[in-house]
């Protein structure tokens, strides 16, 4: 088997994941394609140095993070509010999760693109790609504690931004606003949550 065949057999299965993340990191499908291509070519070039049996997926994402930094440097266009740790309100304004049921993909994508780059990176690695805090910290070359704080801020910001979208569309009815004390419709969700919390 040629080297490229071996590499492709191991690495190509992660392309959709890399591409999804790249799309929101770069906010452009063309840039995402370039970034993913650069990631694969650099990874193949450096594949001899990859320790077989370790986490290839995390290794590819780390290469993509570095390639993205190079891309930004080359273009001399800093992504929106990069490295700014914006404060958000402590309280979520939404009081019921049901507003999230009515969203379109466009709204979710727009809301993601409103996040500061540093928060977006942490959020997508953990939420979308399921990396552990430690893996995400290694990929982004930041401490685990920083991952946790960025993640927490990103989640709150995203929840609030999406809530504003829905409010603006007047899709939250007075009923929903007043529903916070009834809680009846949340019965099954509550069971799911309890299971989640109780899971080993």
């Amino acid at each position: 088997m040629s080297d490229s065949n071996e590499f492709e057999n191991l690495a190509m299965e992660y392309m959709d994941q890399l591409y999804s993340t790249a799309k929101y990191w770069t906010r452009s499908e063309a840039d995402a394609a370039d970034l993913v291509q650069e990631t694969y070519l650099r990874a193949f070039k450096g594949f001899g140095g990859f320790e077989k049996g370790t986490n290839l997926r995390a290794w590819l994402f780390r290469i993509m993070k570095n390639a993205h930094l190079n891309m930004i440097r080359k273009e001399k266009t800093s992504p929106q509010t990069q490295d700014v740790e914006e404060e958000v309100a402590i309280n979520l304004s939404p009081t019921n999760a049901s507003y999230l049921d009515t969203l379109t993909s466009k709204q979710v994508e727009d809301a993601i693109s409103e996040l500061p780059q540093s928060q977006k990176e942490a959020l997508l690695l953990v939420e979308l790609e399921g990396f552990s805090y430690k893996e995400a910290a290694d990929i982004l070359s930041i401490p685990v504690g920083t991952i946790m704080s960025r993640l927490s801020r990103a989640r709150k910001t995203l929840a609030n931004v999406l809530y504003e979208y829905v409010r603006k569309e007047n899709l939250i009815t007075k009923d929903t606003e007043n529903d916070k004390h009834s809680g009846n419709d949340k019965h099954s969700e509550k069971e799911v949550l309890q299971k989640k919390i109780e899971a080993p």
Partner: protein, 118 residues
């Protein structure tokens, strides 16, 4: 692994509206905030510490505000997974595969694609 950041001294009985004993709003927010950071860790599979998990479970059972916040976090995860996953374009797959083979054959080097930075 991140347990050192978690304060386990949660109140053992709480009113249903929030994590507070009639304290000021600031203290109430801080307690809910602390509880919600803990939920994040449980939700993200970052802790197996049974004290933390049971503190999370108790808080969840007793604080409506935290319950709502966790509802939203879990729904947010579902929403992101439903809306943000995209497939890489097929032509990108083909292009990358072709370029890897050309690199393998020594016909191209990485610098042909991406000149080194100055």
């Amino acid at each position: 692994m991140n347990d050192q950041n978690v304060d386990l001294n949660f109140p053992t009985s709480m009113p249903s509206s929030s994590c507070s004993f009639g304290n000021t709003n600031i203290a109430e927010n801080e307690m809910c905030e602390q509880a919600q950071n803990l939920f994040d860790q449980v939700m993200d599979g970052e802790t197996q510490n049974s004290d933390i998990v049971s503190a999370a479970r108790q808080t969840l059972a007793e604080c409506e505000k935290c319950q709502n916040a966790l509802d939203i976090q879990l729904k947010l995860r579902e929403t992101m997974n439903n809306h943000l996953r995209v497939a890489a374009p097929q032509n990108l797959r083909i292009e990358i595969s072709a370029n890897l083979k050309r690199m393998d054959l020594g016909k191209l080097d990485i610098t042909d694609f991406f000149p080194p930075n100055v």
